[in-house]
């Protein structure tokens, strides 16, 4: 068993860390306070190839492995959640969905420009009335000759107002006896008539992230824009979540580390009762728990990433990593605020932002409760994984880097 990172992985981590520290850290408070996405930093991420980090070079990506995707997410969210969210939707949910399920023509058309960062991509599953209950989605796709006519509303969509391409899920058979078999997936482009988007304001956290809604009004989507087969949308949506959740878990790991680092620094700086607060046992307890949770979250993520590299199904492991890491990140951020005392309650320090940002990840990409049900399902043998028509390819350096 080898827990060491390869030279490529170490250097990738270092590069993304430098980017986040140089480009995001100095300005994040300003963007967070003004509820604006940092599009300049997003552009630089695209130029550096981070948006296509684990996509093969032949499809416009950087040719690194799935562990590198996780490391990039950890380093980004160590500084702020908003740019990790971009990795989750653009890379994890959309690009890897295209890579797994797309035809060669579809990969050339959408994956290549997305992996190069020339087009931003989002994932549109959630609706005003359908979140955890995915099959309750109400958007429809009516086949008319060579096009599908899409109608519906999508809500809480990251990059809604920024992305060029959307992976949209809609019902092609609203009356299907097994509702999940009535869902199909489509690549919808912003330029298509009938697509309108907007931002949602007033969020608790991730205020430097673009979150919004998409309205689809009689949008004519060519048949060749359908990803996978008709009725395969539910499986596609769930397999995309195996990758999106991995990025969320890795990001949450970075948020735990950020909370730990901030807490350790402050514990040495602040003195009460004549000594550093680092010498008080109840402060030490909170710091010890953060250190424990960071290690555990990181190991769970690396396991999930390793499985992806091997080409093995990882729904259970990824769900476990996401559930644990996000809940632990919320606790770590909350304890970090506690350690900082009244200063932690102010945005003079970063930890209040960590706390606000951490809560979202316990809700999106499967609430903690959904993940508990998934884990119980596996443990009780109520659920298992059937082979998919298209599996996420195992990482092969020879194929990826040529």
């Amino acid at each position: 068993m080898d827990f060491s990172l390869t030279s490529e992985q170490e250097m990738t981590r270092q590069m993304v860390r430098e980017f986040a520290e140089r480009k995001v850290s100095p300005v994040i408070k300003e963007y967070d306070r003004s509820h604006r996405p940092n599009l300049d930093a997003l552009g630089r991420m695209a130029e550096l190839g981070i948006l296509g980090i684990c996509i093969p070079v032949r499809y416009g990506g950087a040719g690194m492995d799935y562990i590198c995707l996780g490391l990039a997410c950890e380093e980004l969210e160590r500084v702020d959640t908003s740019l990790r969210v971009v990795m989750s939707v653009h890379t994890g949910l959309n690009c890897l969905g295209l890579f797994q399920w797309g035809s060669e023509q579809q990969k050339q058309r959408w994956l290549v420009p997305q992996a190069r960062g020339e087009r931003y991509a989002a994932y549109a599953l959630t609706e005003p009335g359908a979140g955890s209950d995915v099959v309750a989605l109400a958007a429809t796709a009516r086949r008319e000759g060579d096009v599908y006519v899409l109608n519906g509303e999508k809500m809480w969509i990251s990059l809604a107002a920024v992305a060029h391409n959307f992976l949209v899920f809609a019902k092609t058979d609203p009356r299907a006896a097994k509702a999940h078999r009535g869902i199909s997936a489509f690549m919808v482009e912003r330029e298509m008539a009938g697509v309108t988007t907007g931002d949602i304001h007033g969020k608790l956290g991730v205020r430097a992230g673009s979150t919004g809604w998409i309205s689809l009004a009689d949008v004519e989507v060519p048949v060749e824009n359908r990803l996978g087969e008709e009725g395969e949308g539910f499986k596609i949506a769930m397999s995309c979540l195996d990758n999106g959740r991995y990025t969320v878990a890795a990001g949450a790991t970075g948020l735990i580390r950020a909370s730990l680092e901030a807490s350790v620094a402050y514990a040495h700086e602040r003195r009460t009762f004549g000594r550093e607060i680092a010498e008080h046992q109840l402060i030490q307890q909170m710091i010890a728990r953060m250190a424990r949770d960071y290690e555990m979250a990181r190991l769970l993520c690396w396991k999930a990433g390793w499985l992806k590299n091997q080409g093995q199904r990882n729904t259970r492991e990824t769900s476990l990593a996401k559930w644990f890491a996000t809940e632990a990140s919320f606790t770590a951020a909350s304890d970090a605020v506690q350690i900082h005392g009244a200063y932690g309650y102010s945005d003079e320090y970063d930890v209040e932002r960590y706390l606000r940002n951490a809560k979202g990840a316990c809700i999106y990409e499967g609430t903690s409760q959904i993940h508990e049900l998934i884990q119980a399902g596996y443990a009780l043998d109520h659920r298992g994984d059937r082979p998919l028509r298209c599996e996420l390819p195992a990482y092969d350096p020879g194929y990826w880097q040529t």
């Binding site: 390869t6 250097m11 990738t12 040719g63």
Partner: protein
């Protein structure tokens, strides 16, 4: 054009230095990185290479750990990397280090330009670049803030130096040794293509014999500096004073008076 960048591995900028009772310095478990000032030298070398053609070789005198600095430079875009080491090099001061680096550069034979960062963030001596220039018999252009012109055909270089008194424009013949300073450029990030190359590349390790250096001129015995005592600097102590006044203008006026009284301005 053959440009050589001399680099060093240093502890991370956030590492905390400790000194034990016996005078042993430790940087804890800090990861080793390329000396941050050297990134400016690497960036300038890459820009000049892209403008004039040729190649950039990054070199470092150091043990296995020095590979981290070389890998970073290759991941930024350097073409070749060479590590120079022999166990007898341990404990070398700037005199001995400059001797080994100069021998290695002479060994390459075709070097037009040698670049350094302004200093290394651990020892902060600012000496190695100038010492290498002296040993090579080449012009020493330290504190360079801008390369105004490089003309490989005319074998000349003109740079702007950032001095305490102002800026100085000087011209010199090639080969020359240039010490870069912060502000000369903005170092690029490593690229994924570079990272893949750096991870796969073979890094030749040159011995003292390979560079034609004599072992009695390196290491602690070949160094001019002795270390009779090593201790951690005492923690800085100071007092903060909050200036109270009704308006910001009044606060500023009080601050100015105090700074004048302390002869700070």
């Amino acid at each position: 054009m053959h440009i050589v960048v001399c680099t060093k591995h240093t502890p991370d900028t956030e590492a905390k230095m400790t000194v034990d009772g016996a005078g042993n310095v430790s940087w804890g478990e800090s990861p080793l990185i390329i000396n941050p000032w050297d990134e400016y030298a690497v960036e300038e070398a890459l820009v000049l290479r892209d403008e004039h053609g040729g190649k950039v070789t990054v070199i470092s005198m150091g043990p296995q750990e020095a590979l981290e600095a070389l890998k970073h430079a290759v991941a930024m875009g350097c073409d070749e990397a060479i590590r120079i080491w022999d166990e007898t090099c341990a404990g070398s001061d700037t005199l001995a280090t400059s001797y080994v680096l100069a021998r290695a550069i002479e060994q390459m034979g075709d070097v037009d330009l040698v670049l350094f960062g302004k200093s290394a963030i651990d020892a902060q001596t600012w000496q190695v670049g100038a010492a290498v220039a002296k040993r090579l018999g080449a012009p020493s252009l330290m504190y360079t803030i801008k390369v105004v012109e490089l003309d490989p055909d005319a074998r000349s270089i003109t740079v702007e130096r950032l001095l305490e008194e102002g800026r100085q424009v000087v011209s010199a013949t090639l080969p020359a040794v240039v010490g870069t300073t912060k502000g000369i450029n903005e170092p690029r990030y490593t690229s994924f293509i570079g990272i893949r190359k750096a991870a796969k590349m073979e890094y030749p390790a040159w011995s003292l014999d390979d560079v034609g250096a004599e072992s009695d001129k390196v290491g602690a015995s070949g160094s001019g500096v002795r270390w009779p005592e090593v201790f951690a600097p005492p923690a800085r102590e100071g007092e903060a004073e909050m200036i109270e006044a009704e308006t910001v203008e009044q606060q500023a006026a009080i601050l100015v008076d105090k700074l004048l009284a302390e002869k700070v301005i």
